[in-house]
Amino acid sequence: MSILKEEFPVEAMDFVTAGEASAQIKRLLKKLGVDAGVIRRLSIACYEAEINLVIHSDGGKLVLEVDSNEVTLISEDVGPGIPDIDLAMTEGYSTASEDVRMMGFGAGMGLANMARNADRFDISSKVGEGTTIKMYFSL
């Protein structure tokens, strides 16, 4: 069975390139002919993940894996980690700085939004090391 795997590095606090990885991933999935509804949900989740990497991590990457049954999107970073995942998943809870909020990000909807749009959602984090989020979208 064919499997496609691609990595997209994301730099911390780089607002010049923020959103480019998501745009590339979307383009790729459209070329594969993935269902429009799945692309819509994945776009939202993917963009949230990318912006989280930019504003909260010390740098990381998005990994896209596609096979005939499923699209998997993994966000891996090196960074502060999340001490209380349940709290971080609460809508409206945010640790984003005032600067970042002024730019229209960090409203505290990110993780909840990702979980809502993915068919399955896994998150693991170690304080002081980093966070890994896995999102699965059935085809």
Partner: protein, 442 residues
């Protein structure tokens, strides 16, 4: 040409094309390739935005519209001027001058498309009131933007408001009124849009969201410009009094649709966003796709910078034309659409105001119908792309190295179309020749 094969009105004049990369690099959907020294257009990808018409130094890109003489197919001819037309002329104290000019050119009546815009505005306002309508609703006015969504943003197709364009609504109203007034049959009446763009010509042949167009042809503003200006110079003389009525003109807000932001203003929605220029529209559609604009209720996207006044087949510079429309609108009575257009006027037109079918996606980006085959091709594209120099020079005839990699895998191009790879291969061969000649020297 049959309706099915008619996908776009932007065409190439082969005799004029020199095969440069001007249009290749500017096409927002990467629909152009240079093959055998001439530009070719990939039918499914072309959205008729007209960027290539603007950029081509050789004037080899043309818009196929109907000649003025085509109106003679009908016993009675009605002109439907796009409000953009009013921005084309220097001294324009009142719109009726244009109507008179058009009638001298052979039309029996003139029906202003701004009246269609008034009705469309009212219909859209009603749609926005529904709590179940998608957010944001996307304007259906610009056919190039609709086709961009069909090709690149199919998941946003359901957001397009299912109200027909002002042009279509105007044609329906014009024909109905003319037939009632003069007691003639509908098929004896031809409605001709005076168009600033090629995109509308395509939308008449292949309507978006409904089966049949009420419009019978599209005549470009640039084609009639000369003739109409000389009619305007003649003034009111020589025309019977009864034909001097400024006929069928819409409200200031309806005319304002010619400029970017005009539609948003007309529909009285604060949470509306107007974007013009096809690249800008693409970028904001990406934002909508990412759900970055959750408060947005209405999106007005126009392919041409400045809006319809910036169309590729008009005479006047976009900024000058836009300013004239602004001045014209300022001088007209100020009335809101919700006060000047009664809901009865919309409902009175019945189903002809709304779509009767969904707009289907165009799967032109898809690599293969079979998913695992598409995955394999994607892998292969990545391999090929790594071999290519990444200069995006366009010499191969594809707009970027990534596009060439895809063209190769799709079977439309060869690796040695890349001049740098060819150069590399030639120098390797030369080296081998030298080696052989040295080895075989006696």
């Amino acid at each position: 040409m049959s309706a099915k094969s008619f996908l776009h009105s932007v065409r190439l004049d082969k005799g004029k094309c020199v095969g440069c990369t001007g249009c290749l690099k500017r096409c927002p959907t990467e629909a152009i390739r240079i093959r055998k020294g001439r530009a070719t257009i990939i039918d499914e990808l072309c959205v008729d935005c007209g960027e290539c018409i603007r950029v081509c130094q050789q004037h080899a890109k043309i818009a196929v519209t109907d000649p003025l003489s085509s109106i003679n197919r009908f016993k009675y001819k009605i002109a439907l001027p796009a409000p953009t037309l009013y921005g084309q002329f220097k001294k324009l104290d009142d719109i009726s001058g244009i109507s008179r000019g058009l009638m001298r050119m052979g039309f029996n009546d003139v029906f202003d498309v701004s009246r269609g815009a008034d009705i469309a505005s009212r219909a859209i306002m009603e749609k926005l009131k529904s709590p179940t309508c998608p957010r944001p609703l996307i304007s259906s006015a610009c056919p190039s933007v609709i086709r961009l969504i069909q090709v690149r943003f199919p998941e946003l197709l359901d957001n397009i408001v299912d109200v027909r364009s002002p042009m279509e609504i105007a044609a329906t109203m014009a024909r109905k009124e003319f037939c009632e007034k003069h007691g003639v049959r509908p098929e004896e009446v031809g409605c001709f849009f005076i168009t600033p763009c090629a995109s509308k010509a395509t939308a008449i042949r292949r309507p978006l969201g409904h089966e049949k167009s009420s419009v019978d042809g599209a005549i470009s503003i640039i084609e009639i410009y000369g003739l109409l200006s000389s009619q305007l110079r003649r003034g009111q003389m020589g025309l019977p009094e009864k034909e001097q009525d400024p006929s069928h003109v819409g409200t200031a807000l309806g005319i304002g649709w010619a400029r970017s932001g005009g539609e948003s203003l007309a529909i009285e929605e604060d949470e509306a966003l107007a974007v013009d220029g096809i690249e800008n529209v693409s970028k904001v559609l990406e934002e909508i796709e990412n759900d970055r604009l959750p408060d947005l209720k209405y999106f007005e996207g126009l392919a041409c910078e400045g809006g319809c006044v910036g169309g590729p087949i008009v005479f006047e510079n976009v900024y000058i034309a836009r300013n004239r429309i602004r001045k014209l609108v300022v001088g007209l009575p100020k009335e809101r659409i919700s006060e000047s257009v009664a809901l009865d006027e919309v409902t009175g037109l019945g189903e002809d105001v709304f779509f009767d079918r969904p707009i289907e996606p165009i799967a032109a980006m898809k690599l293969d119908d079979d998913f695992s085959e598409a995955l394999k091709k994607m892998d292969r594209i990545e391999e090929v792309r790594k071999m290519l120099p990444g200069l995006d020079c366009g010499s191969c005839g594809s707009p970027t190295c990534q596009a060439l990699a895809e063209d190769i895998v799709r079977g439309y191009a060869k690796e040695l179309d890349c001049l740098l790879l060819l150069k590399q291969r030639v120098s390797e061969m030369a080296k081998q020749m030298v080696e052989i000649s040295e080895l075989t020297r006696e």
